[in-house]
């Protein structure tokens, strides 16, 4: 840069005959943080028509720090209707200064903050209803795509369906198994304490069987899959959104509903009931394990009691629930991914939202199912 004259950046304003001279001296380095501010009213005494000129003989090294100072000076000169003769500056500083706009930017007003609880509740309700509509519409489109696939005119690729099935099925066996085994074991523990008081240890078997088959396996499996697969769907689709991949699909006329969403939703809707059955069996195994070790229950007795307590229609009910949970988690997480913004942070937000909506939704749906079951008396 320029020759070095060590010292703090300094400036000095001096009225002279027919001009005002600004003397600049020292090293002007932005990162040293010593850039002086130019007072807005410093030029108010300069007579009209007289130029402001610069003396830079004592100027040392400089970078954008000097330009920043000069820009301020130029702006306040504009306010005071004073001419600044930038030709007296070093050539390169003059060039840079010319690149800068003379008018300072209008600061963007902060968004207005109103406290309006009624409006907020109304807006939330409308948004929720709108989302329900969008998800249903998307589900219908995907279902139509599925029917078209059945007659061989669909846009779904088998390879996508297979890889989604693998991700949502076999790859999830371990975690679903571990969680359901422990849930079954915990149920047996908790139940045994009370039942032991009545010498009814054997009923631990029916407690575990009914709890797992009616509620726990379906709900736990759905929650695991919402966190595991739902979050992954939302992240994948929102990343595709950010990379304009979704736009590319639309331009080619490849329907997003049947190409992207259908295999994802089908995979979850198909594997969830199977995982539910698997979870039931593993959960009962967990209960059996605890009973066998801790309580005075014979293996055959446990098995017999389990069979006694479980009519097959209990499985049907859980099976249907799981199918609904799988479809719900698949559709909502795809919808959240599609709706996401286009930045890296938005991908994270979409994944979080998909998991939260998935878990809350599954539990809410389960409550609805409980009411229905109560009414029709299953």
């Amino acid at each position: 840069m320029n020759t070095s004259v060590n010292g703090a950046p300094q400036w000095h304003l001096q009225p002279e005959a027919n001009r005002t001279l600004v003397t600049l001296s020292g090293d002007w380095i932005a990162q040293e943080g010593r850039t002086p501010a130019f007072p807005a009213d410093a030029l108010k005494d300069v007579p009209h028509g007289e130029p402001v000129e610069f003396s830079t003989d004592q100027l040392g090294k400089w970078d954008t720090s000097l330009i920043s100072f000069l820009w301020e000076l130029k702006r306040s000169a504009r306010e005071a209707h004073v001419n600044v003769d930038t030709n007296t500056l070093p050539e390169s500083a003059h060039k840079l200064l010319d690149l800068l706009p003379e008018i300072p930017p209008e600061p963007t007003p902060p968004p207005p903050h109103h406290f309006a609880p009624v409006a907020a509740v109304g807006q939330f309700t409308l948004d929720t209803l709108n989302e329900v509509g969008c998800v249903s519409e998307m589900g219908t489109a995907a279902a139509k795509g599925g029917l078209a696939s059945l007659v061989g005119r669909g846009m779904m690729r088998t390879v996508d369906l297979m890889s989604d099935l693998n991700a949502a099925g076999p790859a999830a066996l371990l975690i679903v198994g571990v969680v359901n085994f422990l849930v079954g074991a915990i149920l047996a523990f908790v139940g045994s304490v009370e039942l032991h008081k009545f010498a009814a240890d054997i009923y631990v078997a029916s407690l575990v069987a009914i709890a797992m088959v009616r509620e726990m396996s379906a709900v736990m499996t759905a929650i695991i899959m919402a966190g595991r697969t739902g979050g992954a769907y939302a992240a994948r689709i929102s990343t595709m959104q950010a990379n304009e991949e979704i736009d590319a699909l639309q331009v080619f006329g490849i329907p997003v509903s049947s190409y992207l969403i259908l295999p994802s939703v089908l995979a979850l809707a198909f594997t969830m009931p199977l995982l539910y059955l698997y979870g039931c069996l593993i959960g009962m195994l967990g209960g059996f394990f605890v009973s066998y070790i801790m309580l005075d229950v014979s293996p055959l007795g446990y098995f017999h009691e389990t069979i006694q307590a479980l009519p097959l229609d209990q499985f049907t009910f859980g099976f249907i629930k799981s199918f609904v949970f799988g479809t719900f988690v698949g559709l909502t997480s795809c919808r959240i991914g599609l709706k996401a913004g286009r930045s890296a942070a938005d991908v994270g937000i979409a994944a979080t939202k998909a998991v939260v909506v998935g878990i809350v939704g599954v539990i809410a749906l389960d409550a609805i199912f409980a009411v229905i079951a109560n009414v029709i008396g299953i």
Partner: protein
């Protein structure tokens, strides 16, 4: 090599800023470029040229610390960049500013926050001083109006200019540009060229440009190197205009005159 004219005679007595000696770049056993050597003078605009896929961007990656060369030395003034540990590379890297091909702005921050982040991380400046410098840098690239916008709201050219403002955030004395004018319209591209020249003159920065945008290269670059994908090394040294007018290598000639390589023998009258 001896019978063809591929080396611009040097009359430039400015001190050397960057020296690259016998650098070999490879991904595993796949060699991208080997034995590349060149000097970049202080305050010059140095072009790394070559066809698509010849390893220009890979060379740039090794110069900004993203890819370790398998062989060779890379000096920034007296500092051997790849010989030191991570801390020394970070220290040397503080002198660098990089404009990535598509801007590479952090998408969850506004343009202003993008430019401010390096200053917040590496300097002890007050927030209002930082704000002022951010405005200045965005003003220089003509992006002051977009200070509160997010990268996803910007066009490609605007992202590039915002990326340039971010590259200048810490007033680096070495700037690396990866395809600065790719994907820009001619007017924006010309404005960017002018801006690069002004920044070099104004701030005294040394600039290394990876590009194959001929018109822009002829206008701004005063030295350069030509990489070839077939021979996997540098086949010519010199400014783009010199290479266009004097270089006798058929590949370079065809490139500089926008001709097809196989017909270059007969159509050499550009």
């Amino acid at each position: 090599m001896n019978d063809t004219n591929t080396q611009m005679p040097s009359t430039d007595d400015r001190p050397v800023m960057i020296s690259v000696d016998d650098v070999t770049l490879a991904f595993g056993s796949k060699v991208i470029q080997h034995d590349v050597s060149f000097r970049v003078k202080r305050g010059s605009i140095f072009a790394v040229m070559g066809g698509s896929g010849c390893g220009k961007s890979t060379l740039l990656k090794s110069m900004i610390g993203l890819l370790r060369p398998t062989h060779g030395t890379y000096l920034v003034e007296k500092d051997n960049y790849w010989a030191g540990d991570d801390a020394s590379r970070v220290r040397i890297g503080r002198r660098f500013g990089v404009l990535f091909q598509s801007g590479a702005l952090w998408s969850s921050m506004t343009v202003g926050e993008n430019v401010a982040l390096p200053m917040q991380m590496f300097t002890k400046l007050e927030p209002d001083v930082i704000r002022q410098l951010v405005e200045l840098k965005l003003g220089l690239v003509g992006m002051l109006h977009a200070i509160d916008q997010y990268p996803s709201e910007l066009s490609g050219g605007m992202r590039k200019r915002a990326g340039l403002a971010r590259a200048m955030s810490l007033d680096p004395d070495i700037l690396f540009f990866d395809e600065p004018s790719a994907g820009l319209d001619p007017i924006t591209s010309a404005r960017l060229d002018e801006l690069i020249l002004n920044l070099r003159d104004g701030l005294g920065a040394t600039i290394i440009i990876v590009s194959h945008e001929l018109s822009s290269l002829f206008h701004i670059a005063d030295d350069g190197i030509f990489l070839d994908a077939e021979q996997k090394t540098a086949i010519a040294h010199g400014s783009p205009t010199w290479l266009r007018d004097h270089c006798t290598d058929p590949m370079v000639h065809a490139f500089m005159h926008r001709e097809q390589l196989d017909s270059s023998g007969s159509a050499g009258n550009g």
